[in-house]
Protein backbone atom coordinates (compact mmCIF):
# COMPACT_ATOMS: atom_id res chain seq x y z
CA UNK A 1 0.00 0.00 0.00
CA UNK A 2 2.75 2.39 1.03
CA UNK A 3 4.72 1.81 -2.15
CA UNK A 4 1.58 2.43 -4.21
CA UNK A 5 1.09 5.78 -2.48
CA UNK A 6 4.70 6.66 -3.29
CA UNK A 7 4.20 5.73 -6.94
CA UNK A 8 1.09 7.88 -7.07
CA UNK A 9 2.93 10.84 -5.61
CA UNK A 10 5.80 10.36 -8.07
CA UNK A 11 3.34 10.22 -10.98
CA UNK A 12 1.52 13.38 -9.96
CA UNK A 13 4.89 15.13 -9.54
CA UNK A 14 5.92 14.06 -13.03
CA UNK A 15 2.60 15.27 -14.41
CA UNK A 16 3.06 18.72 -12.90
CA UNK A 17 6.63 18.89 -14.24
CA UNK A 18 5.43 17.85 -17.69
CA UNK A 19 2.70 20.49 -17.66
CA UNK A 20 5.11 23.23 -16.61
CA UNK A 21 7.66 22.08 -19.19
CA UNK A 22 4.97 22.02 -21.89
CA UNK A 23 3.83 25.51 -20.91
CA UNK A 24 7.37 26.90 -21.09
CA UNK A 25 7.95 25.15 -24.44
CA UNK A 26 4.74 26.51 -25.97
CA UNK A 27 5.58 30.04 -24.85
CA UNK A 28 9.13 29.87 -26.21
CA UNK A 29 8.51 27.99 -29.44
CA UNK A 30 5.39 30.03 -30.19
CA UNK A 31 7.24 33.23 -29.31
CA UNK A 32 4.24 34.36 -27.29
CA UNK A 33 4.93 37.78 -25.75
CA UNK A 34 5.01 38.00 -21.94
CA UNK A 35 2.10 40.47 -21.82
CA UNK A 36 -0.16 37.78 -23.30
CA UNK A 37 1.15 34.61 -21.66
CA UNK A 38 4.31 34.53 -19.53
CA UNK A 39 6.12 31.22 -19.15
CA UNK A 40 6.51 29.59 -15.75
CA UNK A 41 10.12 30.74 -15.42
CA UNK A 42 9.09 34.35 -15.89
CA UNK A 43 6.32 33.92 -13.31
CA UNK A 44 8.81 32.48 -10.82
CA UNK A 45 11.10 35.42 -11.48
CA UNK A 46 8.24 37.88 -10.88
CA UNK A 47 7.39 36.11 -7.66
CA UNK A 48 10.97 36.55 -6.48
CA UNK A 49 11.34 40.13 -7.68
CA UNK A 50 7.96 41.37 -6.40
CA UNK A 51 8.01 39.52 -3.09
CA UNK A 52 8.14 42.82 -1.15
CA UNK A 53 4.74 43.65 -2.65
CA UNK A 54 3.22 40.19 -2.90
CA UNK A 55 4.39 38.88 0.50
CA UNK A 56 2.49 41.42 2.62
CA UNK A 57 -0.48 41.10 0.27
CA UNK A 58 -0.48 37.34 0.84
CA UNK A 59 -0.47 37.88 4.60
CA UNK A 60 -3.38 40.30 4.36
CA UNK A 61 -5.51 37.94 2.30
CA UNK A 62 -4.64 34.95 4.48
CA UNK A 63 -5.52 36.94 7.60
CA UNK A 64 -8.90 37.91 6.16
CA UNK A 65 -9.68 34.36 5.01
CA UNK A 66 -8.41 32.90 8.29
CA UNK A 67 -10.46 35.23 10.47
CA UNK A 68 -13.51 34.63 8.31
CA UNK A 69 -13.02 30.87 8.62
CA UNK A 70 -12.64 31.04 12.40
CA UNK A 71 -15.75 33.17 12.63
CA UNK A 72 -17.58 30.75 10.34
CA UNK A 73 -16.56 27.78 12.48
CA UNK A 74 -17.60 29.47 15.71
CA UNK A 75 -20.70 31.24 14.39
CA UNK A 76 -21.89 28.40 12.15
CA UNK A 77 -21.34 25.77 14.82
CA UNK A 78 -22.98 27.81 17.56
CA UNK A 79 -25.94 28.85 15.47
CA UNK A 80 -26.48 25.21 14.43
CA UNK A 81 -26.54 24.17 18.11
CA UNK A 82 -29.04 26.90 18.95
CA UNK A 83 -31.28 25.93 16.06
CA UNK A 84 -31.07 22.26 16.99
CA UNK A 85 -32.13 23.12 20.53
CA UNK A 86 -35.08 25.28 19.59
CA UNK A 87 -37.69 24.62 16.97
CA UNK A 88 -38.78 28.28 17.21
CA UNK A 89 -35.33 29.57 16.43
CA UNK A 90 -35.05 27.10 13.58
CA UNK A 91 -38.33 28.21 12.05
CA UNK A 92 -37.29 31.85 12.37
CA UNK A 93 -33.62 31.81 11.43
CA UNK A 94 -33.21 29.00 8.91
CA UNK A 95 -34.88 30.92 6.05
CA UNK A 96 -32.67 33.89 6.86
CA UNK A 97 -29.51 31.79 6.78
CA UNK A 98 -30.55 30.23 3.47
CA UNK A 99 -31.31 33.66 2.00
CA UNK A 100 -27.91 34.98 3.04
CA UNK A 101 -26.37 31.96 1.38
CA UNK A 102 -28.11 32.36 -1.99
CA UNK A 103 -27.47 36.10 -2.43
CA UNK A 104 -24.13 36.44 -4.27
CA UNK A 105 -21.51 38.08 -2.10
CA UNK A 106 -20.43 40.35 -4.99
CA UNK A 107 -23.78 42.07 -4.73
CA UNK A 108 -23.68 42.46 -0.95
CA UNK A 109 -20.04 43.51 -0.66
CA UNK A 110 -20.52 47.14 -1.79
CA UNK A 111 -23.26 47.60 0.81
CA UNK A 112 -21.16 46.06 3.54
CA UNK A 113 -18.31 48.37 2.55
CA UNK A 114 -20.60 51.37 2.89
CA UNK A 115 -21.96 50.46 6.29
CA UNK A 116 -18.82 49.05 7.88
CA UNK A 117 -16.18 51.73 7.98
CA UNK A 118 -13.25 49.59 9.06
CA UNK A 119 -12.23 48.03 5.75
CA UNK A 120 -10.56 44.91 7.11
CA UNK A 121 -13.63 44.18 9.21
CA UNK A 122 -15.86 44.66 6.18
CA UNK A 123 -13.72 42.26 4.15
CA UNK A 124 -13.80 39.65 6.92
CA UNK A 125 -17.56 40.07 7.15
CA UNK A 126 -17.99 39.46 3.42
CA UNK A 127 -15.73 36.39 3.48
CA UNK A 128 -17.60 35.14 6.54
CA UNK A 129 -20.93 35.45 4.72
CA UNK A 130 -19.64 33.07 2.07
CA UNK A 131 -17.87 30.65 4.41
CA UNK A 132 -20.47 30.43 7.10
CA UNK A 133 -23.16 28.32 5.45
CA UNK A 134 -21.45 24.94 4.84
CA UNK A 135 -20.27 24.70 8.45
CA UNK A 136 -23.65 25.76 9.69
CA UNK A 137 -25.82 23.48 7.56
CA UNK A 138 -23.55 20.44 7.90
CA UNK A 139 -23.41 20.80 11.67
CA UNK A 140 -27.17 21.23 11.88
CA UNK A 141 -27.62 18.09 9.80
CA UNK A 142 -25.28 16.12 12.07
CA UNK A 143 -27.02 17.35 15.20
CA UNK A 144 -30.45 16.43 13.92
CA UNK A 145 -29.66 13.05 12.37
CA UNK A 146 -28.62 10.96 15.32
CA UNK A 147 -29.35 7.25 15.59
CA UNK A 148 -33.05 6.96 16.61
CA UNK A 149 -32.35 3.89 18.73
CA UNK A 150 -29.69 5.77 20.65
CA UNK A 151 -32.21 8.55 21.17
CA UNK A 152 -34.64 5.97 22.61
CA UNK A 153 -31.92 4.78 24.91
CA UNK A 154 -31.26 8.31 26.14
CA UNK A 155 -34.97 8.73 26.83
CA UNK A 156 -35.08 5.44 28.68
CA UNK A 157 -32.23 6.56 30.91
CA UNK A 158 -33.93 9.88 31.58
CA UNK A 159 -31.26 12.03 29.89
CA UNK A 160 -31.83 15.79 30.02
CA UNK A 161 -31.86 17.87 26.84
CA UNK A 162 -28.35 19.14 27.51
CA UNK A 163 -27.08 15.64 28.28
CA UNK A 164 -28.45 14.47 24.96
CA UNK A 165 -26.71 17.36 23.27
CA UNK A 166 -23.40 16.72 25.00
CA UNK A 167 -23.20 12.93 24.92
CA UNK A 168 -25.04 12.20 21.68
CA UNK A 169 -25.63 15.07 19.31
CA UNK A 170 -22.34 16.97 19.48
CA UNK A 171 -20.18 13.86 18.97
CA UNK A 172 -22.49 12.73 16.13
CA UNK A 173 -22.16 16.12 14.49
CA UNK A 174 -18.36 16.42 14.79
CA UNK A 175 -17.52 14.66 11.49
CA UNK A 176 -20.19 16.70 9.69
CA UNK A 177 -18.88 19.91 11.25
CA UNK A 178 -15.37 19.11 10.02
CA UNK A 179 -16.55 18.20 6.54
CA UNK A 180 -18.37 21.52 6.42
CA UNK A 181 -15.29 23.31 7.65
CA UNK A 182 -13.25 21.90 4.77
CA UNK A 183 -15.72 23.32 2.27
CA UNK A 184 -15.81 26.61 4.16
CA UNK A 185 -12.01 26.81 4.11
CA UNK A 186 -11.97 27.15 0.32
CA UNK A 187 -14.97 29.47 0.35
CA UNK A 188 -13.39 31.81 2.92
CA UNK A 189 -10.57 32.41 0.47
CA UNK A 190 -13.00 32.95 -2.41
CA UNK A 191 -14.97 35.35 -0.23
CA UNK A 192 -11.84 37.28 0.74
CA UNK A 193 -10.83 37.64 -2.91
CA UNK A 194 -14.27 38.75 -4.06
CA UNK A 195 -14.53 41.25 -1.21
CA UNK A 196 -11.10 42.67 -2.05
CA UNK A 197 -12.13 43.07 -5.66
CA UNK A 198 -15.18 45.01 -4.53
CA UNK A 199 -13.28 47.11 -2.02
CA UNK A 200 -10.28 47.84 -4.22
CA UNK A 201 -8.16 48.72 -1.20
CA UNK A 202 -4.76 50.03 -2.21
CA UNK A 203 -1.73 50.88 -0.09
CA UNK A 204 -0.10 48.92 2.68
CA UNK A 205 -3.19 46.87 3.48
CA UNK A 206 -3.82 45.70 -0.05
CA UNK A 207 -4.45 41.99 -0.38
CA UNK A 208 -3.50 39.56 -3.14
CA UNK A 209 -6.71 40.13 -5.04
CA UNK A 210 -6.07 43.85 -5.26
CA UNK A 211 -2.47 43.22 -6.38
CA UNK A 212 -3.87 40.88 -9.01
CA UNK A 213 -6.20 43.59 -10.31
CA UNK A 214 -3.46 46.20 -10.14
CA UNK A 215 -1.05 44.00 -12.10
CA UNK A 216 -3.78 43.52 -14.69
CA UNK A 217 -4.21 47.28 -15.13
CA UNK A 218 -0.46 47.59 -15.65
CA UNK A 219 -0.38 44.65 -18.06
CA UNK A 220 2.21 43.09 -15.72
CA UNK A 221 1.19 39.56 -16.62
CA UNK A 222 4.06 37.75 -14.83
CA UNK A 223 3.12 39.46 -11.56
CA UNK A 224 -0.54 38.66 -12.16
CA UNK A 225 0.30 35.01 -12.59
CA UNK A 226 2.55 35.12 -9.51
CA UNK A 227 -0.32 36.51 -7.42
CA UNK A 228 -2.62 33.85 -8.85
CA UNK A 229 -0.08 31.18 -7.97
CA UNK A 230 0.06 32.43 -4.37
CA UNK A 231 -3.74 32.36 -4.16
CA UNK A 232 -3.83 28.80 -5.46
CA UNK A 233 -1.13 27.69 -3.01
CA UNK A 234 -3.04 29.38 -0.17
CA UNK A 235 -6.14 27.41 -1.08
CA UNK A 236 -4.18 24.15 -1.15
CA UNK A 237 -2.55 24.98 2.20
CA UNK A 238 -5.89 25.75 3.87
CA UNK A 239 -7.34 22.53 2.50
CA UNK A 240 -4.35 20.53 3.76
CA UNK A 241 -4.42 22.09 7.22
CA UNK A 242 -8.11 21.37 7.60
CA UNK A 243 -7.59 17.79 6.46
CA UNK A 244 -4.93 17.41 9.15
CA UNK A 245 -7.26 18.91 11.74
CA UNK A 246 -9.97 16.50 10.65
CA UNK A 247 -7.71 13.49 10.95
CA UNK A 248 -6.41 14.63 14.32
CA UNK A 249 -9.88 15.25 15.79
CA UNK A 250 -11.54 12.13 14.40
CA UNK A 251 -8.54 9.89 14.88
CA UNK A 252 -9.09 6.35 15.98
CA UNK A 253 -12.56 7.05 17.27
CA UNK A 254 -14.29 7.60 13.96
CA UNK A 255 -13.02 4.75 11.79
CA UNK A 256 -14.91 5.29 8.57
CA UNK A 257 -14.29 9.02 8.40
CA UNK A 258 -10.53 8.58 8.42
CA UNK A 259 -10.35 7.03 4.96
CA UNK A 260 -11.30 10.07 2.91
CA UNK A 261 -8.57 12.51 2.05
Amino acid sequence: MRSRARTERLLSGLLVAALLGGWEAVVRLGEIPAYILPGPLLVAEALWRDWTVLGPALLTTLAIAGLALLAAAAGGGLLAVLLALSRWLEAGLLPLAVTLQVVPVVSIAPLVLIYVEEVTLALVLCAWLVAFYPVFSNTLFGLKHTDPMLRDLFRLYGASRLQRLYYLELPSALPHFLAGLRISGGLALVGAVVAEFAAGTAGARAGLAFRLLEAGWRLDMPRMFAALLLLALSGVAIHGLLALLQRWLLGRRYPRMREDR
Partner: protein, 254 residues
Protein backbone atom coordinates in the same frame (compact mmCIF):
# COMPACT_ATOMS: atom_id res chain seq x y z
CA UNK B 1 -55.82 -9.09 36.45
CA UNK B 2 -55.38 -8.75 40.17
CA UNK B 3 -52.79 -6.29 41.49
CA UNK B 4 -49.72 -8.17 42.51
CA UNK B 5 -46.72 -6.80 44.41
CA UNK B 6 -44.53 -9.09 42.32
CA UNK B 7 -45.52 -7.48 39.06
CA UNK B 8 -42.86 -5.28 37.46
CA UNK B 9 -44.93 -4.30 34.50
CA UNK B 10 -48.19 -5.39 32.98
CA UNK B 11 -50.02 -4.63 29.77
CA UNK B 12 -53.78 -4.90 30.24
CA UNK B 13 -55.99 -5.13 27.17
CA UNK B 14 -53.51 -2.94 25.37
CA UNK B 15 -54.09 -1.82 21.82
CA UNK B 16 -51.66 0.24 19.83
CA UNK B 17 -52.38 2.02 16.57
CA UNK B 18 -49.58 3.81 14.74
CA UNK B 19 -50.25 7.32 13.42
CA UNK B 20 -50.40 5.90 9.89
CA UNK B 21 -53.37 3.74 10.92
CA UNK B 22 -51.54 0.41 11.22
CA UNK B 23 -52.95 -1.53 14.15
CA UNK B 24 -49.91 -3.15 15.76
CA UNK B 25 -51.52 -4.62 18.86
CA UNK B 26 -55.11 -5.42 19.78
CA UNK B 27 -55.98 -6.59 23.26
CA UNK B 28 -52.56 -7.68 24.44
CA UNK B 29 -52.30 -9.12 27.94
CA UNK B 30 -48.83 -9.46 29.35
CA UNK B 31 -47.53 -9.57 32.90
CA UNK B 32 -43.89 -9.58 33.87
CA UNK B 33 -43.13 -10.79 37.38
CA UNK B 34 -39.94 -9.89 39.22
CA UNK B 35 -37.21 -12.39 38.43
CA UNK B 36 -39.19 -14.13 35.71
CA UNK B 37 -37.98 -15.04 32.22
CA UNK B 38 -40.59 -14.67 29.50
CA UNK B 39 -39.97 -15.26 25.82
CA UNK B 40 -42.15 -13.64 23.21
CA UNK B 41 -42.29 -15.34 19.81
CA UNK B 42 -44.34 -14.40 16.81
CA UNK B 43 -44.16 -13.82 13.06
CA UNK B 44 -42.31 -10.70 11.91
CA UNK B 45 -44.36 -7.56 12.10
CA UNK B 46 -46.68 -8.93 14.79
CA UNK B 47 -45.99 -6.08 17.19
CA UNK B 48 -43.36 -7.73 19.42
CA UNK B 49 -41.13 -4.69 19.31
CA UNK B 50 -44.11 -2.40 19.92
CA UNK B 51 -44.97 -4.45 23.00
CA UNK B 52 -41.43 -4.05 24.31
CA UNK B 53 -41.45 -0.31 23.70
CA UNK B 54 -44.74 -0.05 25.59
CA UNK B 55 -43.24 -1.99 28.51
CA UNK B 56 -40.21 0.31 28.42
CA UNK B 57 -42.45 3.36 28.56
CA UNK B 58 -41.20 4.69 25.22
CA UNK B 59 -44.72 4.49 23.77
CA UNK B 60 -48.14 5.12 25.28
CA UNK B 61 -50.98 2.69 24.45
CA UNK B 62 -53.85 3.79 22.24
CA UNK B 63 -56.25 1.80 24.43
CA UNK B 64 -55.90 -0.26 27.56
CA UNK B 65 -53.61 0.22 30.52
CA UNK B 66 -49.98 -0.20 31.41
CA UNK B 67 -48.99 -0.76 35.00
CA UNK B 68 -45.38 -0.34 35.94
CA UNK B 69 -44.01 -0.64 39.43
CA UNK B 70 -40.74 1.01 38.40
CA UNK B 71 -40.16 4.72 38.50
CA UNK B 72 -36.51 5.70 38.33
CA UNK B 73 -34.48 5.82 35.14
CA UNK B 74 -32.24 2.81 34.73
CA UNK B 75 -34.74 0.43 36.27
CA UNK B 76 -35.70 -0.70 32.79
CA UNK B 77 -32.96 -1.71 30.39
CA UNK B 78 -33.44 -2.27 26.69
CA UNK B 79 -31.22 -4.24 24.34
CA UNK B 80 -31.81 -4.00 20.61
CA UNK B 81 -30.91 -6.37 17.80
CA UNK B 82 -28.29 -3.84 16.78
CA UNK B 83 -25.72 -3.18 19.54
CA UNK B 84 -26.53 0.57 19.27
CA UNK B 85 -23.27 1.78 20.79
CA UNK B 86 -21.72 5.24 20.65
CA UNK B 87 -19.09 4.66 17.93
CA UNK B 88 -16.78 7.39 19.24
CA UNK B 89 -16.67 6.04 22.80
CA UNK B 90 -14.62 3.17 24.19
CA UNK B 91 -16.24 0.02 25.50
CA UNK B 92 -15.83 1.33 29.04
CA UNK B 93 -17.39 4.71 28.26
CA UNK B 94 -20.28 3.07 26.44
CA UNK B 95 -21.05 0.87 29.41
CA UNK B 96 -20.74 3.84 31.74
CA UNK B 97 -23.23 5.95 29.78
CA UNK B 98 -26.39 5.08 31.77
CA UNK B 99 -24.58 5.95 35.01
CA UNK B 100 -23.23 9.21 33.60
CA UNK B 101 -26.70 10.24 32.53
CA UNK B 102 -27.87 9.65 36.10
CA UNK B 103 -24.91 11.66 37.42
CA UNK B 104 -23.62 8.79 39.54
CA UNK B 105 -20.32 9.61 41.24
CA UNK B 106 -17.35 8.74 39.06
CA UNK B 107 -15.71 6.30 41.47
CA UNK B 108 -18.84 4.32 42.07
CA UNK B 109 -19.67 4.37 38.36
CA UNK B 110 -16.27 2.93 37.48
CA UNK B 111 -16.77 0.11 39.97
CA UNK B 112 -20.17 -0.76 38.53
CA UNK B 113 -18.73 -0.65 35.01
CA UNK B 114 -15.97 -3.11 35.91
CA UNK B 115 -18.55 -5.41 37.47
CA UNK B 116 -20.75 -5.32 34.37
CA UNK B 117 -17.75 -5.86 32.06
CA UNK B 118 -16.62 -8.86 34.08
CA UNK B 119 -20.11 -10.30 34.01
CA UNK B 120 -20.03 -10.50 30.21
CA UNK B 121 -16.31 -11.26 29.96
CA UNK B 122 -15.20 -7.96 28.43
CA UNK B 123 -12.61 -6.82 30.98
CA UNK B 124 -9.80 -7.28 28.43
CA UNK B 125 -11.18 -4.98 25.76
CA UNK B 126 -12.48 -2.15 27.93
CA UNK B 127 -10.37 0.44 26.10
CA UNK B 128 -11.22 -0.70 22.56
CA UNK B 129 -13.65 1.14 20.31
CA UNK B 130 -16.79 -0.65 19.09
CA UNK B 131 -15.60 -0.87 15.50
CA UNK B 132 -12.55 -2.78 16.65
CA UNK B 133 -14.70 -5.61 18.03
CA UNK B 134 -16.57 -8.54 16.46
CA UNK B 135 -20.36 -8.57 16.28
CA UNK B 136 -20.63 -10.92 19.26
CA UNK B 137 -18.34 -8.74 21.36
CA UNK B 138 -20.29 -5.62 20.46
CA UNK B 139 -23.46 -7.36 21.58
CA UNK B 140 -21.77 -8.17 24.89
CA UNK B 141 -20.99 -4.47 25.31
CA UNK B 142 -24.64 -3.73 24.72
CA UNK B 143 -25.58 -6.31 27.38
CA UNK B 144 -23.06 -4.86 29.83
CA UNK B 145 -24.52 -1.39 29.30
CA UNK B 146 -27.97 -2.80 30.10
CA UNK B 147 -26.64 -4.60 33.21
CA UNK B 148 -24.69 -1.70 34.61
CA UNK B 149 -27.61 0.22 36.06
CA UNK B 150 -28.81 -2.88 37.94
CA UNK B 151 -32.21 -2.89 36.26
CA UNK B 152 -35.28 -4.64 37.57
CA UNK B 153 -36.67 -5.28 34.14
CA UNK B 154 -34.58 -6.33 31.17
CA UNK B 155 -36.15 -6.06 27.73
CA UNK B 156 -34.34 -7.74 24.86
CA UNK B 157 -35.47 -7.30 21.27
CA UNK B 158 -34.06 -10.18 19.17
CA UNK B 159 -30.67 -9.36 20.63
CA UNK B 160 -28.68 -12.18 19.08
CA UNK B 161 -30.59 -12.59 15.81
CA UNK B 162 -27.82 -11.13 13.67
CA UNK B 163 -25.08 -13.35 15.11
CA UNK B 164 -23.87 -16.73 13.95
CA UNK B 165 -25.33 -19.74 15.74
CA UNK B 166 -22.28 -20.68 17.80
CA UNK B 167 -21.97 -17.13 19.15
CA UNK B 168 -25.70 -17.01 19.74
CA UNK B 169 -25.69 -20.22 21.79
CA UNK B 170 -22.83 -18.90 23.88
CA UNK B 171 -24.52 -15.56 24.48
CA UNK B 172 -27.78 -17.34 25.37
CA UNK B 173 -25.88 -19.23 28.08
CA UNK B 174 -24.14 -16.09 29.31
CA UNK B 175 -27.44 -14.27 29.50
CA UNK B 176 -28.92 -17.10 31.56
CA UNK B 177 -25.93 -17.06 33.90
CA UNK B 178 -26.20 -13.31 34.41
CA UNK B 179 -29.95 -13.61 34.93
CA UNK B 180 -29.39 -16.34 37.50
CA UNK B 181 -27.04 -14.14 39.52
CA UNK B 182 -28.86 -10.82 39.08
CA UNK B 183 -32.48 -11.87 39.01
CA UNK B 184 -34.08 -9.18 36.87
CA UNK B 185 -37.38 -9.89 35.17
CA UNK B 186 -36.75 -10.57 31.48
CA UNK B 187 -38.84 -10.24 28.37
CA UNK B 188 -36.92 -11.75 25.48
CA UNK B 189 -38.31 -11.21 22.00
CA UNK B 190 -37.15 -13.70 19.40
CA UNK B 191 -38.40 -15.29 16.21
CA UNK B 192 -36.53 -18.48 16.98
CA UNK B 193 -38.75 -21.15 18.53
CA UNK B 194 -35.68 -23.07 19.66
CA UNK B 195 -34.14 -20.11 21.41
CA UNK B 196 -37.40 -19.26 23.17
CA UNK B 197 -37.80 -22.74 24.65
CA UNK B 198 -34.15 -22.94 25.65
CA UNK B 199 -34.25 -19.65 27.54
CA UNK B 200 -37.70 -19.00 28.96
CA UNK B 201 -39.75 -20.12 31.91
CA UNK B 202 -42.69 -19.49 29.69
CA UNK B 203 -43.09 -18.83 25.98
CA UNK B 204 -45.81 -16.50 24.81
CA UNK B 205 -46.87 -17.02 21.22
CA UNK B 206 -48.27 -13.99 19.42
CA UNK B 207 -50.69 -13.83 16.51
CA UNK B 208 -49.83 -12.00 13.29
CA UNK B 209 -50.71 -8.31 13.26
CA UNK B 210 -52.66 -7.02 15.10
CA UNK B 211 -50.79 -8.90 17.78
CA UNK B 212 -52.19 -10.49 20.87
CA UNK B 213 -51.20 -13.54 22.89
CA UNK B 214 -52.36 -16.71 21.13
CA UNK B 215 -50.85 -19.26 23.53
CA UNK B 216 -48.83 -19.51 26.72
CA UNK B 217 -46.55 -22.49 26.98
CA UNK B 218 -44.76 -23.17 30.26
CA UNK B 219 -41.24 -24.59 30.12
CA UNK B 220 -40.90 -26.54 33.37
CA UNK B 221 -37.19 -27.21 32.93
CA UNK B 222 -35.03 -26.17 35.91
CA UNK B 223 -32.04 -23.85 35.59
CA UNK B 224 -29.14 -23.90 34.95
CA UNK B 225 -29.99 -25.19 31.51
CA UNK B 226 -27.20 -26.89 29.63
CA UNK B 227 -26.62 -27.84 26.01
CA UNK B 228 -27.81 -31.32 27.01
CA UNK B 229 -31.29 -29.81 27.34
CA UNK B 230 -31.16 -28.86 23.67
CA UNK B 231 -30.71 -32.52 22.75
CA UNK B 232 -33.41 -33.87 25.05
CA UNK B 233 -36.78 -35.13 23.94
CA UNK B 234 -38.56 -32.80 26.38
CA UNK B 235 -36.98 -29.87 24.60
CA UNK B 236 -38.00 -31.02 21.15
CA UNK B 237 -41.54 -31.74 22.32
CA UNK B 238 -41.84 -28.22 23.74
CA UNK B 239 -40.40 -26.74 20.56
CA UNK B 240 -42.97 -28.53 18.44
CA UNK B 241 -45.75 -27.34 20.76
CA UNK B 242 -44.60 -23.75 20.28
CA UNK B 243 -44.33 -24.24 16.51
CA UNK B 244 -47.83 -25.68 16.36
CA UNK B 245 -49.19 -22.79 18.38
CA UNK B 246 -47.50 -20.37 15.97
CA UNK B 247 -49.02 -22.12 12.96
CA UNK B 248 -52.48 -22.24 14.52
CA UNK B 249 -52.28 -18.54 15.30
CA UNK B 250 -51.25 -17.76 11.72
CA UNK B 251 -54.04 -19.94 10.25
CA UNK B 252 -56.68 -18.44 12.51
CA UNK B 253 -55.91 -14.93 11.37
CA UNK B 254 -55.53 -15.79 7.68
Amino acid sequence: MRPDPDTLAALEEVAFVYPNGVVALAGLELRVAAGSFTCLVGPSGCGKTTALRLLAGLLAPSRGRIRRSMRGPGEVALVFQDPTLLPWATVRDNVELPLRLRRIARREARREVERALDLVGLGEVADAYPHELSGGMRMRVSLARALVSRPKLMLLDEPFAALDEITRFRLDDELLTAWGSQGWGVVFVTHSVFESVYLGQQVLVMTPRPGRIAARIAVPEPYPRTPAFRASERYLRLCSRVSEALERAADASA
